[in-house]
Point group: C2
Chain length 335, copies 2
């Protein structure tokens, strides 16, 4: 197993990536890495020589201000674009991990990395914790802002197979994000997608879901167009973080609250950990021939390590073969 | 000022509406009500005779399971459809308050109640609290699942005037809900809407907003298509409620947490009150000739009273005249 690591995608330089890679090398004897980015800085961070580590120099960095098309054309010496190039050209490379800007990563991956036969567009599928202790996947969370009903069906297929393969959920309960639970709700796109999902034999479709029920634990996978999926995940994360911040501020506003909080320190730490989506790994891009995992820009070493584990999980489970078979089955049924 | 009250829209029967009406009658000597619904039950709840109160009997009830078109056609004796009819036909009626199903209310209001000249579609504008103590309006939050860029511009105009008139925000900061802050982000609809908003002279447009920043206090009004606006508000509310529920459950899991929580009882009550959107009133429907305020289905008397106050606020501020003037100004500039 060989993973390409874009070491200069995130906000924290290469330290988290290098640290995570070192840990993973210790854990997985068959794993090797290509670390891409400023070679001198990577070497300094590695401190010693490691077998199974190749360093590829890429002095430039893609930033959030770069337009995807410009970055692909003009920043060929950036860690992200070079990492994608290696993933494409090195036949022995299985996957790529990047904590760089999402828009550029999607554009570059869509342009440069092949797709599973029959898949129209790759889609992001991040994972959030639910209030019942389980998880819920959101597909697509922003790779495709314009979607067709057929694309939403494909997101359901890819997401279902991903949850089966990587999280061992035997028959994932799939919901369609909509403005109401009734079948006829929503715009044309969502009404049409509802019909397709209902008719799909290999999908355990349980109906429409309102965004307020995302964390309820009643669903394993939420299928959505990339625009509303993006609104959904960011508002869920944003609200949780803002509320925890507010509680913290309020605790400091009175001595008696501070006293009470002393007894509850562990609990608050636990809530914070629970709502920190970094602890659940990155967003995987489903539908590409090779594995791509996108970590959050502010990922620390633990978060990058989670992304590495996700890539290994996906690779070990022959996910892409399963997606392709499911797709073929569904198409045969629909004819 | 005369308000029509749909007394059997919500989950709790007519008690909250009747109680709120009684309170409002005491506070506002020029206010009169038409209470619509099962007359006998309303009379029982009123207990005594009230001047300035008319009761109109409507034995049927619209439920969440009714299709809007069916409800309008077949449930003419329901409290909501009859209330809309009175609003339309009684020239002295200024506005209507209902806690009934949103879909039916929008459809009935759109069909039966005239619009402000030039307004393409009415839009909902609920209000949420921000973490800095202020408020933020969301327009449209679900009345229109399919939108054009011009409609989004109109939502910005109506929402801005509403915030000025009802909340005394002198120049509301208007943001466009999008998947990223950069100008070129989003699908065609949002890119086009961005251009229109930027060019509009009477709008204090501050750019795109990601859903995670809704509660940041950096924005007064978020403009969105009804589909993603609906996803936004329901996930914000849902996440806050789920998180508070989780904290409560976790407190009960250990004796030491329960002890700590004793010191913080007031604070937790305050957080709960803060995140209870009912305390911020209902969603007003902007763009109709007469005032329509939609309260939450689970509204108690306090929440219904807030809705009544909102209707009075809107009426006293000549909001519709201001919206129409703004619209005319913007159209003259655009020619």
């Amino acid at each position: 197993m060989k993973l390409i690591l874009d070491c200069f995608g995130g906000d924290k330089g290469c330290a988290p990536c290098v640290e995570a890679a070192k840990k993973a090398l210790g854990q997985y004897p068959d794993l090797s890495f290509v670390l891409v980015g400023d070679a001198e800085k990577i070497r300094a961070e590695l401190k010693e020589e490691f077998p199974r580590v190749e360093i590829v120099h890429a002095p430039d960095v893609v930033t959030g201000n770069d337009k995807p098309t410009d970055a692909i054309r003009l920043k060929r010496e950036s860690s992200m674009i070079k990492a994608i190039k290696i993933l494409r050209e090195d036949e022995s490379a299985d996957g790529l991990i990047s904590t760089g800007p999402t828009g550029v990563l999607i554009a570059a991956a869509t342009l440069r990395i092949g797709r599973i036969d029959g898949i129209r567009r790759p889609a992001f599928c991040p994972i959030l914790p639910t209030m019942r202790g389980g998880i819920v996947g959101i597909c697509d969370s922003g790779a495709n802002v314009e979607c067709s009903p057929e694309m939403l069906l494909q997101f359901a297929i890819m997401g279902s197979e991903y949850l089966k393969a990587a999280f061992h959920i035997s028959t994932p309960r799939v919901a369609l994000l909509n403005v109401g639970t009734e079948e006829e709700k929503g715009d044309d796109l969502h009404r049409e997608a509802h019909k397709l999902l209902k008719a799909a034999e290999g999908i355990n479709f349980v109906g429409n879901m309102e965004s307020r029920d995302l964390l309820s634990g009643n669903y394993d996978l939420v299928v959505c167009d990339g625009f509303s999926g993006n609104v959904l995940i960011k508002s869920t994360e944003g609200t949780a973080l803002e509320l925890l911040k507010k509680i913290k501020k309020d605790i400091y506003s009175r001595e008696i609250y501070k006293l009470g909080a002393l007894f509850m320190k562990k609990m608050f730490e636990e809530e914070k950990r629970f709502m920190n989506y970094q602890n659940y790994g990155g967003s995987v891009l489903l539908g590409t021939e090779k594995i791509i995992v996108k970590g959050h820009g502010s990922s620390d070493a633990t978060a990058v390590y989670k992304c590495i584990e996700q890539a290994l999980n996906m690779s070990g489970s022959s996910l892409n073969e399963k997606i392709q078979k499911h797709l073929e089955r569904e198409e045969t049924t629909n004819v």
